[in-house]
Symmetry: C2
Subunit: 359 residues, 2 copies
DNA sequence: TTGAAAGCGCTAACAT
DNA sequence: ATGTTAGCGCTTTCAA
């Protein structure tokens, strides 16, 4: 029972040709009851299973989809990957997963490898959809694919949050709460078109709301010494009342750093995040943020790839504005209105925590 | 440039046999400078890449490792998977990932599929290592494998947290803080030998410390209505002063539910978690918990599989007691000593938060 | 130095 | 109803 049995072994033991074994097991063609019996017995005795490698070579299909994301340490990607994986599993497809750690070189190599492995399709979150070697390769090979979390450059399929619009919405929320001077905190700004798009959307949103252009703070590491960064940032921009962090982890780390600096959140500094990870609801104050549905995006992108493979009609994508929503939270606090009070400042309660004292 | 070129196409274009192409590209055998030139030119022109499927069939190896975990929505598994994946990538292996959603049937099917795909090894976190069909299959096929987060039944390789010992340590910590009546809160108790082992360890630890046997609360859903569960639980066990949750998410959800019930954590109820996910440091009060290193475990298990494949000596596994440590946090509060005060109650500060008022 | 050919496990066309 | 065989893309003898 050490080495795996092949179809030949089964045929030999059943006393028939390999074609018969194939026909019986695949239900693809006639077979006498007795023959069927003998084949099944042999299969059982040998614990036989088809080799997918042999099948793949012959069918030119692997029933495998490649998936490339920056990192599943971020629950946004983890959830998306899991959503996609379940779709694949239900359709009898397996998933090859590669995490790039935000490195474009690893990304390119990963995609090369997946192509060589003859995957039937790929699900990609690339660093920059505008110029990605891997994406070019996939296109030239006409490999069924879908982008995930990347805005599609042209008419390409993509499942993404409307980063630009969502970030603009954050600006609206700051404005409605009378914040004028804000900052944008970004991680991996250089290697993420997502972060850049959020920044641009936020800048536009601020302009539209007659707010000051947001100050930009880029951090490269994983927020280890974020406290120092934050101190310097606030020193350079003393009039800041709110910070929009490019993702929830960063936002939570910022709240923590602020606490280290004895800055009260939200009384002295409001924080808004992006992603809507569930721990944002568990902290105190709860995190105001853009809520997204990574799992659904992953599943949708997975479905899209399958329909591309099967030639069926792809699932409908949600409209750009229904891929996100704003969730009020205690980390964003209304400021007293300067001029005319339009009554909107009370629209967002400072916290959803019943034990919270009045701010 | 639509269909992928094969070695035959390259040979034809270079005007040579396929063997020559193979030799040149693999540097396995002689080739004249001129021939090399022509082959490389053809490769370039055709954008040729070897088909891994053809190679696999011939070499009986796929350079692919299968990985089966319950869910990467839990950052513990996500981190472990990523750690393993990086090890694989650096060794030129790819990873097929399947999440079972804690379902034994999916688990069995997943492993069957991986075997059929001819993976060179598998990395498994199974529901129950004592009786797992998939694990049996892997064993009978003598497929290189390592368990992850499962205690190995016999002499089998496994990378796991010492669940039993860690849980006993939690009991020690409760005892040192003068807690006598505790509860154990478990998710997926039936489908997780991890949770069971933690429970057993905790029970033993409580006994050793002359505490009351812990009350057991099992929840099956994802803590959606955990508040109701908690209310009933505390009603049935009014003398409880502390709860040990089988993982950090559950612990955080418990803190939140307690807050909904107007129960102060830790003043009225202490909570201890398990896993050490990083958000435990971001909440207030910070979460007392067992800290583990999932990423390292995943990487170690990955290394083990590779060494099994290559026949090299496997990486040394950390001793059972160095796979975890206790992290004090504000969610576990000392109770006033009943009899003789041994002075140890002050060893664990109620919070690591500088802004925290004295409890 | 190079090429022809066998064979890896499987399916499908064809023959019996 | 069943068997024989070519061929999927590749590596590797073996001859030339």
């Amino acid at each position: 029972m050490g080495q795996a049995a092949t179809i030949k072994d089964v045929a030999q033991r059943a006393g028939c040709g390999v074609a018969t074994v194939s026909r019986v097991l695949n239900n693809t063609g006639p077979a006498s009851a007795e023959m069927r019996e003998r084949v099944l017995a042999a299969v059982d005795a040998l614990d036989f299973q088809f080799s997918e490698v042999g099948r793949s070579l012959q069918s030119n299909t692997t029933r495998t989809i490649g998936c490339v994301v920056p990192s599943i340490e971020n629950p946004v990607y983890a959830d998306a990957v899991q959503g996609a994986q379940e779709v694949f599993r239900n359709a009898g497809y397996q998933m090859l997963l590669i995490c790039t750690n935000y490195s474009p070189e690893i990304e390119t190599n990963a995609i090369r490898t997946l192509v060589a492995k003859q995957v039937d399709g790929v699900l990609l979150t690339v660093a920059d959809a505008q110029k990605s070697e891997g994406l070019d390769l996939v296109r030239s090979r006409r490999l069924p694919h879908s982008l995930l979390f990347n805005e599609a450059p042209d008419g390409e399929v993509s499942w993404s949050v409307g980063d630009h619009a969502a970030a603009a919405l954050v600006a609206d929320k700051f404005a409605m709460n009378n914040h004028k001077n804000t900052g944008f905190l970004a991680l991996n700004f250089l290697n993420s078109d997502r972060a850049r798009q959020r920044y641009e959307g936020f800048v536009e949103g601020c302009a539209k709301n007659a707010m000051a252009p947001p100050a930009l703070l880029e951090v490269d590491d994983d927020g280890h010494d974020l406290t120092d960064h934050l101190r310097g940032f606030l020193h350079d921009h003393p009039d800041l009342t709110g910070i929009f962090a490019s993702n929830d982890f960063l936002a939570l780390a910022t709240i923590r750093s602020a606490r280290n600096l004895f800055i009260k959140v939200p009384q002295e500094l409001s924080i808004v995040g992006f992603d809507g990870i569930k721990v944002g609801l568990m902290v105190e104050p709860s995190l105001a943020t853009i809520v997204t549905a990574p799992r659904d995006l992953g599943a949708g992108a997975g479905q899209t790839i399958l329909s591309l493979i099967n030639g069926t009609s792809p699932p409908e994508r949600p409209s750009k504005n229904s891929t996100f929503s704003f969730r009020a939270g205690g980390s964003l606090m209304p400021l007293p209105a300067e001029s005319k009070d339009d009554g909107k400042v009370a629209a967002f309660p400072p916290s959803n925590d019943p034990t919270q004292k009045t701010a």
